[in-house]
C-alpha cells in the first residue's frame, strides 16, 4: 500500500511543480498568463492520449503505435469525407478505426504473448506506412468550418473546446481507474498478473480493453488534430508516442506497471506542454528544449526512486511491515 500512497503523493507534487512553473513563467514572460488557456490547444491531443496510456502502462504494457494510429485514423476520416460522407460521421468512424487498431494490438499481445514494446513497434511501422500510402503522400484539407471549431473553437469565448474535451475525458478516466471494477482490475493486473489471473480476473480481456481505449483516444486525437490543422497528413502523428509516454512517466506512472494516477499523468502532460510553450516564449531553441525535457524525465523518476527508497527505509527502521515489503519486492522481481 505504501508504494501506491507514495505515487498518490507524487501527483500532488506534480501539481505543486506545475503551479510553481506557472508562477515562474508568467513572471519571466509577462504575456504568458494572458495566453494560458489558448496555448493548451497546442498539446491537448497528447494529454488525451496520456489518459489511456496511463491505463496501458499501469496494466504492465506500453503502446508505441499511437502516433501512427493518429495519422491513420485522421487520414481515414479525410478520405471518407472526400468521398462524400458527413465529416462528423467520418470522424466517429475514424475514432472507431482507432479502437480497432488498438484491438488488433491487444489481440496480438495477449494471444501470442510477445512483448507489448515489440508488438506495438511493429504495428507503428505498419499503420504509419499505410497512412502515408492512403493519403497519397499529401494532405487532405478543406473541411467545413463548423468541424474546425472542434480543434480551434472556444466555449463561451474563452474556454478552448479541446481543453473541455480533455477535462471531461480526464474525469471519466479517473473515475474509470479508481471507481470501477475494470479500473481496479487494471491495477491488480499491473501489480501481479498471475495472482489476478488466479483470482478470476479475465486478464486477456482487461489488457485488450486498455489497448482498445488507447486506440480510441488516438483516433479521437487524430480527428481533433485534423480539425486543429484544418487538414490531415500521413505523418501528422509521427513521434507523438514518446511525448505521451514522457508525460505519463513524469506524472508518476510506474513504467513497470501497478501504480499511477490519472491526475498525475494529466499534470505531467500539462507541465511539459506549458514548459515547451514557455521556453518558446523565452526564445529557447528546440535543441536546448530537447535536452531540458530529457533531464526533467530522468530527474522525475530519480526523485520518485529516492522517495520510494526513503519510504522503505522508514518502514524498515519502524520494524512494522518489513516482511511485507520484502514480499512486495519479490513480487516485483517476478
Amino acid at each position: 500500500m505504501k508504494r501506491s500512497k507514495f505515487f498518490a503523493n507524487w501527483s500532488y507534487g506534480i501539481i505543486a511543480v506545475f503551479l510553481l512553473e506557472m508562477v515562474i513563467l508568467s513572471s519571466v514572460t509577462p504575456k504568458f498568463l494572458s495566453n494560458l488557456l489558448p496555448m493548451t490547444e497546442n498539446f491537448m491531443p497528447i494529454g488525451i492520449m496520456a489518459l489511456s496510456m496511463t491505463l496501458v502502462i499501469i496494466a504492465g504494457g506500453i503502446d508505441l503505435s499511437i502516433g501512427s494510429v493518429v495519422s491513420f485514423s485522421g487520414v481515414i476520416m479525410g478520405l471518407l469525407w472526400q468521398h462524400g460522407m458527413n465529416i462528423w460521421v467520418a470522424g466517429l468512424l475514424a475514432v472507431l478505426i482507432g479502437g480497432l487498431a488498438g484491438f488488433i494490438n491487444g489481440q496480438i499481445i495477449v494471444r501470442t504473448g510477445i512483448q507489448p514494446l515489440i508488438a506495438t513497434l511493429a504495428t507503428q511501422f505498419i499503420w504509419g506506412s499505410l497512412a502515408v500510402v492512403l493519403s497519397n503522400q499529401g494532405s487532405i484539407y478543406g473541411f467545413p468550418g463548423s468541424f474546425l471549431l472542434l480543434g480551434t473553437g472556444f466555449l463561451y469565448g474563452y474556454l478552448p473546446v479541446q481543453l473541455v474535451i480533455f477535462v471531461v475525458l480526464a474525469l471519466l478516466f479517473a473515475y474509470l481507474l479508481n471507481k470501477t471494477v475494470f479500473g481496479r482490475q487494471v491495477l491488480f493486473i499491473g501489480n501481479s498478473e498471475s495472482v489476478s489471473a488466479y483470482s478470476g480476473v479475465n486478464v486477456n480481456r482487461v489488457k485488450t480493453w486498455t489497448y482498445v481505449l488507447s486506440g480510441l483516444t488516438a483516433g479521437l486525437s487524430g480527428v481533433i488534430m485534423g480539425s486543429f490543422f484544418a487538414s490531415v497528413r500521413g505523418d501528422m502523428g509521427q513521434g507523438l508516442e514518446l511525448t505521451v509516454i514522457t508525460g505519463c512517466l513524469v506524472g508518476g506512472v510506474n513504467v513497470f506497471g501497478g501504480a499511477g494516477t490519472i491526475v498525475g499523468a494529466a499534470f505531467g502532460v500539462l507541465l511539459l506542454g506549458m514548459l515547451s510553450q514557455g521556453l518558446n516564449f523565452m526564445n529557447v531553441s528546440s535543441q536546448v528544449q530537447a535536452i531540458i525535457t530529457g533531464v526533467i524525465l530522468i530527474l522525475a523518476v530519480a526523485i520518485q526512486q529516492l522517495g520510494t527508497i526513503f519510504a522503505r527505509r522508514r518502514k524498515m527502521t519502524g520494524g512494522e511491515g518489513a516482511g511485507k515489503l520484502r514480499g512486495e519486492r519479490r513480487a516485483r522481481v517476478e
Partner: protein
C-alpha cells in the same frame, strides 16, 4: 467501494461526449473573445524596432542556416530583432506550436517556411486576425493564410530546371531515371517530383522515371538506397535527388561503386556539402539558388510589410540587393541557378 461494470462505463462515456458536443455547439466561437493582449500592430511600425520570427522547416540543415546568415546580416540595419528557431524534425505541428507562442508573445512579423501548406493555415490566420503580419518564405502555405510569399523559385521552375540538367546531358537519348527523395510524405519534394513528371511528359519523352526511393533524412539510408537502385534497376543512367541529404548520399554511393561518368547524378543541395563531389567530378551540375539573398530579401519584405509599404503587385526595390517582381503577393527571388564547379567554390552555405 461502489463499483460499476466496464460496459456501462463505455456507454456513459459515449453519452457524456454527446452531451458535451450538443451543449457546446451553440456557445462555441472561433476565437477567444478576450484578446486585448495584442499590441494592435494594425498601425504602421515605421521607425520602430520590430520583432521578427524566422521559422525554417527544421533547424540543423545548411540550407536554412545559410538563409539565417543572410537574414542576420541585414537585420540590424533594418532595425529588426530577429529570432531564428524551428523544429528539429520536419514537423508541421511543431511549427504551429511555435507560431502560436510567438504570436502570443507579441512578435510583429512571423516568417515561416511551411512544412505543410494547409496544416499551418489556421494558426497563421489566427495570427493575422490579431494584427501580426505573416509572410512565408521558401515553402508557401495556401495563399489566404499569409500576406506575402518570398518565393526563391517556383515549383515548376525547380522541377523543369532539374529535368533540363539531365536532358541537356543526355541530348535526346532514351534514358531511365531514378529519383531519390527524402521521405514519402515531404510536401515540397512531392511537388517538385510532380513538376518533374509534368516537364518530362511535356518536353522530354526520352526520359523515363523508373523508381522513387527515399533516404529518410539519413546519409547511410541514402547511400544504400542508391546502391539498391543501381542493382534493382540496372538500366537507370541518371539519378535526380531533390533533397540535400539525398544528393551527396547518391554521389557518395556512385563513387563507391566506381560508376562515376556512367551514372549521372544531380539534384538540389548546398554548395558546401557538394564541394567534395564536384571537385572529384562525380557531380558536374546541380541546382539551387542564392540562399543568403533569400534570407536578406525575406527580412526586407518583413520590414516593408510591418511599415505598410509593401506593394502587393509591381516592383519591390531593395537597396544593395536589386529589384524584385511582386505578383499577387508573391515576391520572386529569381530563377533557380545551375551550380557548376566555379559557383560551388564561390558560395559558402
Amino acid at each position: 467501494m461502489k463499483t460499476i461494470g466496464w460496459k456501462r462505463m463505455a456507454t456513459a462515456l459515449v453519452i457524456l461526449l454527446l452531451i458535451v458536443a450538443l451543449a457546446g455547439c451553440g456557445a462555441v466561437q472561433s476565437s477567444p473573445s478576450a484578446n486585448s493582449n495584442q499590441n494592435a500592430a494594425q498601425t504602421s511600425q515605421k521607425g520602430k524596432t520590430i520583432k521578427v520570427a524566422l521559422i525554417p522547416k527544421a533547424i540543423g540543415i545548411p540550407y536554412f542556416t545559410g538563409a539565417e546568415q543572410g537574414a542576420q546580416s541585414v537585420a540590424a540595419a533594418l532595425n529588426i530583432k530577429l529570432t531564428y528557431n524551428g523544429p528539429t524534425t520536419l514537423s508541421a505541428s511543431d511549427q504551429v506550436s511555435m507560431i502560436n507562442s510567438y504570436v502570443a508573445e507579441g512578435y510583429n512579423v512571423i516568417a515561416v517556411s511551411a512544412n505543410d501548406p494547409t496544416s499551418l493555415a489556421p494558426a497563421l490566420k489566427a495570427a493575422m486576425k490579431k494584427g501580426v503580419k505573416v509572410i512565408t518564405w521558401d515553402s508557401d502555405t495556401v495563399p489566404d493564410a499569409r500576406q506575402f510569399f518570398v518565393n526563391q523559385a517556383t515549383v515548376d521552375g525547380i522541377g523543369s530546371t532539374l529535368v533540363k540538367v539531365v536532358a541537356d546531358h543526355f541530348k535526346g537519348k532514351q534514358t531511365d531515371v531514378a529519383i531519390l527523395s527524402s521521405t514519402p510524405s515531404n510536401t515540397n519534394q512531392n511537388q517538385w517530383i510532380d513538376a518533374m513528371k509534368k516537364t518530362i511528359a511535356d518536353k522530354y519523352p526520352n526520359l523515363h522515371i523508373k523508381t522513387i526511393q527515399y533516404d529518410q533524412g539519413q546519409p547511410s539510408t541514402g547511400v544504400s538506397a542508391t546502391e539498391n537502385i543501381v542493382k534493382g534497376f540496372p538500366t537507370v543512367k541518371a539519378i535526380i535527388s531533390p533533397d540535400s541529404v539525398g544528393l551527396p548520399a547518391a554521389a557518395e554511393a556512385v563513387e563507391k561503386l566506381g560508376l562515376q561518368g556512367k551514372i549521372y547524378v544531380t539534384g538540389l543541395a548546398d554548395p558546401v556539402v557538394m564541394k567534395k563531389y564536384v571537385d572529384d567530378g562525380t557531380v558536374q551540375k546541380y541546382v539551387l539558388w542564392n540562399v543568403l539573398d533569400l534570407g536578406k530579401l525575406t527580412m526586407n519584405v518583413a520590414r516593408a510589410v510591418a511599415d505598410g509599404t509593401m506593394p502587393t503587385s509591381g516592383t519591390f526595390k531593395v537597396k544593395g540587393l536589386g529589384d524584385f517582381q511582386v505578383n499577387n503577393g508573391q515576391v520572386l527571388l529569381g530563377l533557380p541557378m545551375i551550380f557548376d564547379k566555379a559557383a560551388t567554390d564561390k558560395y559558402n552555405f
